[in-house]
């Protein structure tokens, strides 16, 4: 665990070692706030609720989260530093977990800056803080699932752009299958399977501020599955 923390520190520092990290955060805040206040017309709704903000989150994260995870392995592979990293006395899971934690921390820091919205809401009226806190926790679960997928895909390529696009595509499909089968109601069980697999359907409860243990288990499973695949893929380098 100590070793995972070493990797965590290195990766988190790397996010802020260039202006890119800050630019990313500012860009995210601009886009998400503009979406909430202007596209969804917060000021005409007459409600101090962040429901719209969180409802848009799976789609906003679709573009932002793969950008956080894309470089984590791809850059190491491209620069060759992966060879040094994996010949240090660290276990593969420690490296994978450390990288994941750093990406998670960066996402959490980004979300931290969005707390200006609930603060503004509290100033304008009496929002239900329980719902907002619940939604933030849910958003972290959703983002973590995206990160685990993106981190795994980053380990498959040495090209960051490829990692970004494939991650986006995979997450997009996992979101879409939560909606599309509604048109295919005739297929019955397939619909419910798709709904269960989709990252989106599990987020619906979250936007209402409900943290259902089934959703938590689902997101935790996605995270564990992709981190596991990631570890196995890193170990498999030895046999290529």
């Amino acid at each position: 665990m100590k070793n995972a923390f070493t990797i965590f520190k290195k990766e988190l520092r790397s996010y802020f070692s260039s202006p890119i990290g800050f630019v990313f955060i500012i860009f995210y805040l601009l886009v998400s706030n503009a979406f909430f206040f202007f596209v969804q017309d917060f000021f005409k709704q007459g409600q101090v609720s962040m429901r719209g903000y969180f409802a848009a989150m799976p789609w906003v994260f679709l573009f932002f989260v793969p950008a956080i995870s894309m470089r984590l392995w791809a850059e190491e592979k491209k620069m060759g530093t992966v060879e040094l990293l994996l010949t240090m006395p660290l276990k593969e899971w420690e490296v994978v977990f450390g990288k994941f934690l750093a990406a998670f921390a960066f996402l959490a820091i980004t979300l931290l800056f969005s707390l200006t919205i609930p603060v503004s809401l509290a100033y304008l009226g009496k929002p239900d803080m329980g719902v907002i806190v619940g939604s933030y926790v849910g958003a972290l679960f959703l983002g973590s699932a995206y990160l685990a997928i993106g981190l795994y895909i980053s380990s498959l390529t040495e090209n960051q752009v490829v990692a970004f696009i494939i991650s986006l595509a995979v997450i997009f499909v996992l979101l879409l299958i939560g909606i599309a089968p509604v048109w295919l109601n005739a297929l019955g069980t397939i619909v419910s399977v798709c709904e269960y697999i989709s990252l989106l359907s599990h987020f619906n409860n979250v936007t209402r501020g409900v943290i259902d243990s089934r959703d938590v288990i689902y997101y935790a499973s996605v995270i564990v599955l992709f981190l596991y695949l990631n570890i196995k893929n890193i170990e498999a380098r030895k046999w290529r």
């Binding site: 070793n3 520092r13 060759g80 530093t81 060879e83």
Partner: protein, 307 residues
């Protein structure tokens, strides 16, 4: 100590190394020599547990690279080919990271980093970003990270590639210094490097070890000394070819005024320049050049790796 036994690595159908065995004793500096693609890097990647062998075993200080990779990794310092580093980190931060990741205790880390900074002469650039450093400095940072935990075994893949002659001399001096207390295996295709630094040389070609020994032993396996003689005299080439101490006298050029240039090899591979001088004196030949050249490691290398 490094022990390698019957090591084989295949990438798909291509065999990178084929049944290689060698032992490197504690405190020895061994040069791994071979043309590009000979299998030097593959051997090192297996020793450092980055990849696994298809067959055979390798161990470092008694720890098997397959069964105990963490133990092996603790014992070694590794500088991969082309010296990959994090360009967005400054030198001191990077070395502190390397020390932490390689398990140097928190209270000894600063000392360890300061030691390698002075050993590798990095004092002037500690706060510079690695991406902004020259190739020579980067190489030294690469060496520094390999030594920061004071490992007993150093594995250096082409530590001098891309450096200028002064930098090469510095790095070689450093390796020489390290060799006094550590086991070092370094690869190169520059032969003069192993002549000056290595106790022993392993020459590998097409995945096989084709020769090993001290640089002197290897040179002795060459064709010996060739004497270049530019001479003018009646029938000189024929008379030389007939002399008892000459194995071969080959005409390699024609000078002005009837001089010819010959490459003469002695009968028992020894330097025959004195015999040639005496013979020329007896026969009253005119001599304008008499030069003995001992085969270098380059010749041995070329002979062994070109078949």
């Amino acid at each position: 100590m490094i022990h390698v036994d019957g090591l084989t690595k295949r990438y798909g159908k291509a065999t990178a190394i084929d049944n290689i065995s060698f032992t490197i004793n504690k405190g020895e500096v061994v040069g791994l020599l071979g043309p590009n693609g000979a299998g030097k890097t593959t051997t090192m990647k297996i020793l450092t547990c980055f990849i696994s062998a298809t067959a055979g075993r390798a161990s470092i200080n008694g720890h098997d690279t397959f069964d105990e990779p963490l133990k092996v990794k603790e014992q070694i310092g590794y500088l991969p080919e082309s010296c990959p580093l994090y360009h967005d980190m400054d030198v001191a931060t990077y070395l502190a990271f390397a020390a932490e990741a390689r398990g140097v205790a928190a209270d000894k880390r600063k000392l360890a980093v300061d030691r390698v900074i002075s050993d590798c002469d990095l004092g002037k650039v500690t706060r510079k970003l690695i991406g902004h450093l020259s190739k020579g400095y980067r190489q030294r940072v690469g060496l520094a990270q390999a030594m920061v935990h004071n490992p007993s075994v150093l594995i250096l893949d082409e530590p001098t590639s891309g450096l200028d002659p002064n930098q090469i001399r510095d790095i070689l001096a450093l390796i020489n210094n390290l060799g006094q207390e550590k086991t070092v295996i370094h690869s190169t295709h520059i032969l003069s490097e192993v002549e000056t630094t290595s106790d022993r040389v392993l020459i590998i070609n097409n995945g096989h070890i084709v020769a090993q020994g001290t640089p002197q032993e290897l040179m002795a396996r060459s064709s010996g000394t060739t004497v270049y003689l530019t001479v003018k005299g009646a029938d000189a080439q024929a008379q030389l070819s007939g002399a008892a101490f000459v194995k071969q006298a080959e005409k390699i050029g024609e000078g002005k005024d009837g001089f010819i240039r010959l490459a003469v090899q002695g009968a028992d591979a020894r330097d025959v320049s004195l015999d040639l001088f005496k013979m020329a004196k007896e026969k009253d030949w005119l001599v304008s050049e008499l030069k003995a050249e001992t085969a270098s490691l380059e010749d041995v290398f070329a002979k062994l790796t070109r078949g």
